[in-house]
Symmetry: C2
DNA sequence: CCGCGTAAGATCGGTATCGTACATATCGTG
DNA sequence: CACGATATGTACGATACCGATCTTACGCGG
């Protein structure tokens, strides 16, 4: 999966369930006026095509790769067959679905109540969790689009985070230097979403 | 159910599944700083305690009655028993769960991309769908809290809507005069959420 | 019919973010 | 090494919304 790749387009039928091994895939909403925003972010902790867990046949929205990685694609038929054989698989898939709903709820509250600094920090932390190492590729432009902010706003936040020693960045490569300092700048939403995924 | 009643508190165990007949119940998020916002809105189209559909034992958040109504309470054990007997019940419950996820996603995008006018109009339309008749009781203060806006902002929007002839209001009683005009002021999110609930 | 509580109307400055635009720096490629 | 593409820095006015506060109006219960 390379940045910009569209895993599923809006309204697509779920033919495969996609399990990322690393990297970040975003579920994108698109409004009539053309503006877009990230609805949720999925990595190795989950899978794409979770609509099938709720008996759906079509995906919930356009999913676009943000940070490169690999993924396993399983045909839906095989997933359904496996679900019949392995109860633990069903449990795990339900667990992620539940965590994902919790993520959606927390993100909604976060978008309403927290500022750009907190939300950008949260996004970077969530991405960091889903890659190996401390470096990954994402442009300020991309983050701005995902969070429905201006690039200038994201730029100001990133400059602050860099001067605080939390991150460094250079032409799209973000380096997480001090994760704890990044946590200080993020809101509680990061931790809450994390907890929901674990429990 | 009377306005202000707490159906489930944050972190409560789902002992009953609650099916509203009319009225509006809001799922509320509460942040560390004490600020709150509505995560989702549920009426007769769905039920409270849908966490059990995903194998959960605890609710997703505090649910508070906003517009009065009646509801049926079913013990979880009975629901589980019924699910084993009636496939159609499972299907219906899954259908709502799916629609609810779609609602969460749309609300998230809406909160990020649309303005106070559109969001207040959307909320009023969603409430209108869930009551009988054109009048229901909700204060501007309550709407402001749910959408994480100031009461003054909601007041300005309501004044506009009233002068446009879409609604009238008086001491907490909202009267929907011209639903189409309200639709004009709302964003596409209302229709999209509606469609997700029907399909 | 009086007083208190609730709902609504209105206004102030303040600020986070927007929309747009232009400037700069670095990289990859021919 | 030149050049276009990409990423970042920065500036400007505009604006939507905030936080606080004060006022007005209504309605219910004593």
């Amino acid at each position: 999966m390379r940045p910009g790749d569209v895993v599923f387009d809006e309204g697509a039928t779920v033919t495969h369930v996609v399990f990322p091994h690393e990297g970040v895939v975003s579920l994108i909403a698109r409004m009539d006026n053309g503006r877009t925003v990230e609805k949720s972010l999925i990595g190795s902790e989950g899978f794409l095509g979770f609509a099938i867990v709720m008996g759906g046949k079509t995906v919930f929205g356009r999913s676009v790769v943000q940070v490169a990685g690999h993924a396993s694609w399983l045909p839906v038929a095989e997933v359904h067959a496996a679900l019949l054989r392995y109860d633990c698989l069903r449990e795990e898939m339900l667990r992620f679905t539940k965590a994902h709903v919790a993520q959606l709820m927390e993100s909604l509250a976060c978008a309403s109540l927290h500022n750009a600094q907190q939300r950008v920090s949260r996004w970077l932390l969530q991405a960091h969790d889903r890659v190996s190492g401390n470096k990954f590729h994402i442009t300020q432009e991309a983050v701005a689009t995902l969070l429905a902010l201006r690039r200038a706003t994201v730029n100001a936040v990133c400059a602050d985070l860099a001067s605080a020693g939390a991150i460094s960045y250079h032409r799209g490569t973000v380096n997480v230097i001090d994760r704890d300092r990044l946590l200080d700048n993020a809101c509680e939403c990061y931790g809450r979403i994390r907890m929901a995924a674990i429990s």
